[in-house]
């Protein structure tokens, strides 16, 4: 009996080994991962921080700025709207700003400020006489990028490298070539520790390789940025990984706008500009993009027409056409007709017709009773927002609780961001609402696309997640 099980065990082990051998042929860097880990682990983290600081200077050289220009052109060629590509580049450069790096690595909110030592990162710290910490690299990190925006995957990648990890990146097919070309040509040691799979999930022949790569290597952290389909796909594979890596899922989320009418009207022009940009930025496709709104203390008279007609005009002035689908445009018109027939106020653009649309409904959404054959998903909508006029915050809570049953929000997990246009007492209620619905952010319009460096990413501090924290206790603290 014992022998039988032994044989079976060996057989299983052999099976596990096969894909690894195959993977090493495809990805030569696999065989060096453990060796490199030792190297990175022994290296002072400040060397890597300096490297990143030096990249800031590099991007100011003609070679560096040419490289950025090539990246932008590649993004545009792959289908990115030009302004979106430029925004990505601008925000990518902010990542290398000295203050940003300081905030990311010594984030008070995450307790990382304890590692601050005269401008350097001190890995070993004494908290008190009996307790200390050593923050080290964690080992192997696998990051999956999404296709909507580059910034999150790039932020994860650089933080993982600074933390001292071997980092492997699986990108969306939109970025599968341009990002590796860009990173691999940067003048820093990270190019030897950041690897790209260059595999396409859409390709049948790559699927098995992706599965082998994720399921069979002893990853320490797997960080997935993606939509529902993508998360389902990767998490199914991750569940087969017997090393049980730490999983950081960045779920598909969305934003909600909360408006206090009299507050909004006090600074009407500025607020219109700010709300307009919040709706437009990145094609309204960010987890923080407002896709539904709520108006409190409302007055459905001419003043409301004034707000939304001017908002339409501002969006019109900054309108960038996106490639859209004929049948989706017909569905959009059907949605708008539903809203009109339900008695909602509908504002559309005289210049761009339904392509800019604001719907004002009273008490509840006009779309509650409709399904996929009538509605567009939020991912298929641009410059479109329904704002529900409600009497109080309890009504908002109730609507948001039921929101994800609506087809338009299918595959979206929850409200990530509350974009507030309100005064202090209003915001106090926004705080309470955020707590009830489990939102992660309350922002003004400057932070729809932008993240504050001290922010947690959907409750995760990525730098902390990419490190291993060793507690040193008792008399051992003396030896730190």
């Amino acid at each position: 009996m014992i022998n039988f099980f032994k044989k079976k065990e060996n057989k299983n082990n052999n099976n596990n080994n096969k894909p690894k051998l195959h993977l090493s042929n495809k990805f030569p860097w696999i065989s060096n991962l453990d060796k490199n880990f030792v190297k990175l682990s022994n290296q002072d983290i400040n060397i890597r921080i300096n490297e990143i600081n030096n990249l800031r200077d590099y991007f100011n050289t003609s070679k560096g700025s040419n490289q950025l220009l090539n990246l932008k052109n590649s993004l545009v060629q792959s289908g990115y709207p030009e302004n979106a590509a430029q925004l990505e580049i601008d925000f990518f450069l902010e990542l290398f700003d000295e203050v940003t790096i300081q905030n990311l690595l010594f984030n008070d909110a995450a307790g990382l400020h304890l590692h601050f030592d005269n401008g350097n990162f001190k890995q070993k710290i004494k908290i008190n006489k009996e307790f200390g910490l050593i923050r080290t690299s964690i080992g192997k990190v696998f990051i999956v990028g999404s296709s909507n925006t580059l910034l999150p995957v790039l932020t994860s990648m650089f933080l993982s490298y600074i933390a001292g990890n071997n980092t492997v990146v699986q990108l969306s097919s939109l970025h599968a070539n341009c990002i590796p070309d860009f990173i691999e040509n940067l003048p820093f040691e990270g190019v030897n520790h950041i690897h790209f799979t260059k595999l396409y999930r859409e390709k049948e022949e790559d699927l098995l390789l992706i599965e082998n790569l994720i399921a069979n290597l002893n990853w320490n952290v797997i960080n997935v940025w993606g939509g529902n389909d993508s998360l389902d796909f990767y998490n199914k594979i991750i569940s087969k990984n017997t090393y049980r890596p730490r999983i950081i899922n960045m779920e598909p989320l969305t934003g909600a706008l909360i408006m206090q009418q009299d507050y909004f009207e006090k600074n009407l022009n500025i607020n219109i500009e700010n709300l307009s940009s919040s709706i437009r930025v990145m094609g309204q496709q960010l987890c923080s993009s407002p896709t539904i709104g709520f108006l409190i203390n409302y007055n459905l008279d001419e003043s409301i027409d004034n707000i939304f007609e001017n908002l339409i005009l501002d969006i019109e002035q900054n309108y960038i056409p996106s490639s859209s689908d004929e049948s989706n445009s017909i569905k959009l018109d059907r949605m708008i007709n539903i809203a009109r027939d339900k008695g909602s106020k509908v504002y559309t653009s005289s210049k761009y017709s339904n392509n800019i649309c604001i719907i004002i409904s009273e008490n509840q959404s006009a779309f509650n009773e409709y399904n996929s054959s009538h509605l567009l998903n939020i991912h298929e909508r641009r410059n479109f927002i329904e704002i529900v006029c409600v009497d109080n915050f309890s009504a908002i809570h109730q609507i948001i609780n039921n929101l994800f049953e609506n087809f338009s929000y299918k595959d979206t997990k929850k409200i990530q961001t509350l974009l507030s246009f309100g005064d202090k007492s209003f915001d106090l209620e926004v705080h309470q609402l955020a707590s009830l619905i489990g939102a992660y952010r309350i922002i003004d319009s400057n932070y729809v696309l932008r993240r504050h460096p001290m922010e947690f990413f959907d409750n995760y501090n990525l730098f902390s997640e990419f490190t291993n924290l060793i507690s040193v206790v008792g008399s051992k603290v003396d030896n730190l």
């Binding site: 999404s146 940025w225 960045m250 490639s323 689908d325 059907r334 017709s353 339904n354 054959s373």
Partner: protein
């Protein structure tokens, strides 16, 4: 003879319109008078515009007067053509304002039409429901449209106007073969309305297909087979006026698909091809390209290939029968009719609406604004309003792209010159689902 081939299927021959509660309605009486005084298809384009304009308020008021649960009173207000929810229409409405009442075909799928119907209880209202084939994926069922007998009685007049105009004479004699099964007249609008009209005009009607027995879970389309006996009797009939009404698929399966021994067997069974339609014979076709091989990209390919087998005469030296192509939609009480065309001609197949079908070409699915002066050959989205449909506001965007035709007052056809009462269009394609740039799949 006339009723036998229907075998109890389809639209009843006696529509008993006077029993409808709408019979005495002033708008119905106005339409009836308009349609029986003379053939409005002979109107000039200006006269048609004036006629449509004169019907605009009576048409809208008809729905306010006969409203069910205030549906239209609210709709007209919400869509911006009424001053209030009590049915006070705005002043100075124009025909282009009808675009505000648009219904997309997809809104008529499943029970979508129900709320729009003016009838209190359609089970009590005499009429029939017509359905599309329901083959479009990602929808919640076929387009399903109820038509009351009183609306169908108007369709006999309007579709009659169109066919008389296209053929160039009052169609009231001859034989017809519908290349479909009589059971299909129970739900297929084109089959039901076309055959009903021809029977009503006194023509002999035959059906060239039948529904065979088959597994319980099979569809009527899967059990459809030829009715050789009916076809043969039509082909043998010596009447000098025969109308052969077929779909592109029917013609393909009969004349293009059979090869070798199959072709020989077809010839033995039917004594055709060639098909002799008599000196006044016409081939009428309709339908799309569904169920045709991918090598067939337009119906005129089929017509060109079969033209020499379907002849207007009684011998092999007779010329090819002229072809009239029709666009029939479940969601339209009227067809859009073509003019007689030589099957070998390269002339575009222009479809013409009835003068009571207000037609507008819209810029695009992204901008549904009616275009005032469409440019010849450019593609637009079709929109029409059937002013003679009484059951609901039939203001439809069917999701079809058409190309604008040349501005003209008359057109030369294979059977002579025809007056143009309203600009026609050339069918182009269905709206497509293309993969745009998807900037979003996840988070950030």
């Amino acid at each position: 003879m006339n009723n036998r081939p229907f075998d109890g299927n389809g639209i009843p021959s006696d529509l008993n319109e006077s029993s409808s509660h709408l019979y005495n309605d002033e708008y119905f009486q106005l339409l009836k008078k308009t349609l029986t005084t003379n053939n409005v298809v002979n109107n000039s384009r200006e006269e048609t515009k004036n006629l449509q304009k004169s019907l605009l308020y009576p048409y809208l008021e008809f729905f306010i007067r006969n409203d069910k649960n205030d549906f239209y009173k609210k709709l007209f207000f919400n869509r911006g053509i009424a001053k209030d929810q009590n049915g006070s229409l705005k002043d100075n409405l124009e025909l282009v304002d009808l675009i505000k009442l648009r219904v997309h075909s997809d809104d008529l799928r499943a029970d979508g039409q129900q709320q729009r119907l003016i009838h209190q209880d359609i089970d009590k209202e005499e009429g029939m429901s017509f359905m599309s084939s329901g083959t479009t994926v990602g929808t919640n069922g076929p387009v399903n449209v109820f038509r009351s007998n009183i609306s169908l009685s108007l369709s006999r007049l309007t579709n009659g106007n169109l066919i008389d105009w296209s053929i160039g004479k009052k169609v009231n004699e001859g034989e017809t073969l519908f290349h479909m099964a009589p059971e299909m007249t129970n739900f297929l609008a084109f089959a039901a309305i076309g055959s009903d009209f021809l029977r009503d005009r006194g023509l002999g009607v035959r059906f060239g297909a039948k529904v065979n027995k088959g597994p319980a879970d099979s569809t009527i389309w899967q059990r459809l087979g030829p009715d050789i006996k009916q076809m043969k009797s039509f082909f043998k009939d010596n009447n000098p006026t025969k109308y052969f009404i077929a779909s592109g698929v029917g013609l393909y399966k009969m004349f293009m698909e059979p090869k070798g021994i199959k072709k020989l067997m077809m010839k033995l069974a039917l004594s055709a091809p060639p098909v002799y339609l008599g000196d006044n014979g016409v081939l009428m076709i309709g339908g799309g390209l569904k169920r045709l091989p991918s090598s067939i990209t337009s119906l005129d390919q089929i017509v060109k290939n079969t033209g020499d087998f379907i002849l207007a005469g009684d011998n092999k030296n007779a010329p090819p029968a002229p072809v009239i192509d029709m666009l029939g939609l479940t969601e339209s009480l009227n067809v859009f009719i073509g003019v007689p065309t030589d099957p070998h001609s390269d002339d575009p197949w222009i479809k013409f609406p009835h003068p009571l079908t207000y037609t507008a070409l819209l810029k695009s699915p992204f901008d549904l604004t009616p275009v005032e002066n469409p440019k010849e050959g450019e593609e637009y989205l079709l929109f029409y309003v059937n002013l003679m449909t009484l059951d609901y506001v039939e203001a439809i965007i069917p999701g079809d792209f058409v190309k604008a035709s040349k501005d003209m007052d008359s057109i030369n056809t294979a059977l002579g010159k025809r007056n143009i009462s309203q600009n026609g269009f050339i069918y182009s394609r269905r709206a497509e689902q293309s993969e745009g740039f998807k900037i979003r799949e996840g988070c950030g």
